[in-house]
Subunit: 197 residues, 2 copies
């Protein structure tokens, strides 16, 4: 953070550093104190930015969600053909989860906060539900377009697609299998076929 | 913990309380201090039991793994018929992850520790790898027995089966869908069918 010695970091830059820390240490492992050190500000200076640890967590999730929409969802929904859109949702997600430092913050926070009622859990839950709804809409479109069998349940398809993403996350980041991506893509091809594509 | 006022808790009982705390707060959120309060011992008394926070984390994972083997794996591998064994592995896991307070500690610690090299990560990784290997063996048996198509890849099947378990965990515990179990079972039936069962 020599940059901090040259000019003050902007609010957005501080949030970006916080996202990196949360990816490593968990959203709850993120502290105003350790973030203050990293960005060369005083703890009271950082409280001025975020108000509280929960304010910091909320901003990190919001900023990370915007990134997710920008990198994963928007380039995929730009595809007009439903199967191309569905495939892009998968592939963008694999890139997102495989390449970002610390994996997908939403996968990590899902298990970190699932048993801790409160606004942070509500936010994590909303992000996961939105993602599932995005997958379901893409499947519905493919069914309407005749790319998948008419009896396909978008809910069930999205459940299975979400599962292969989560399996990839575990294989890639914890078990460190170099075949994680090829297994995820093979599973997707099998999934499409089983639904009549 | 009125029990603690009557007689000292055994080491096993203290570990059981620690498992509950880890399930709620994460393995890293578990502290010797908060555990000491819960069991009515001094911090130094607890250091005597575990040596360090890492010693405590290691014991919690070991004890939880023993429970997992006892509740999920052993009753399933008691089934002689390969498909019954595979189905029992799924159903026991759904019970394990859906009913225990805090869900599956291994799912939670997988994302909590995947980016933190060290002995705890090694232990979490070994537990996940063992579980995947258990699933792969059960699939191999079903293939040898002629219950699944001979070209079935046990690795690929286990990847997909693991995925539907993880999808269930997210739906059940975070999104709180009351259809999580039925979607997981439907996905399993579809999986078997797609592999020729």
């Amino acid at each position: 953070m020599t940059q901090a010695q040259l000019r003050p970091l902007s609010h957005e830059e501080i949030v970006a550093v916080a996202i990196e820390q949360a990816a490593q240490a968990g959203l709850d492992g993120l502290s105003i104190g350790s973030l203050a050190k990293s960005v060369g500000l005083s703890k009271s200076g950082l409280f001025g930015h975020f108000g509280s640890k929960q304010g910091l967590q909320t901003e990190v999730l919001n900023a990370c969600h915007s990134r997710f929409i920008e990198r994963v969802v928007q380039p995929a929904v730009a595809h007009k053909r439903p199967l191309a859109r569905l495939r892009a949702l998968l592939e963008n997600w694999l890139d997102w989860a495989g390449q970002s430092d610390g994996g997908c913050l939403f996968v990590a926070t899902a298990t970190e906060f699932d048993d801790r009622p409160g606004p942070v859990r509500d936010q994590v839950r909303a992000a996961s539900s939105n993602w599932v709804a995005t997958l379901e809409r893409a499947v519905s479109l493919a069914v309407e377009h005749g790319d998948l069998a008419p009896e396909t349940s978008p809910r069930q398809f999205a459940f299975e697609l979400h599962g292969l993403m989560l399996s990839y996350h575990c294989r890639k980041r914890l078990i460190e299998s170099d075949q994680a991506a090829s297994m995820a893509k093979a599973a997707f091809t099998r999934l499409l076929k089983s639904y009549g594509a």
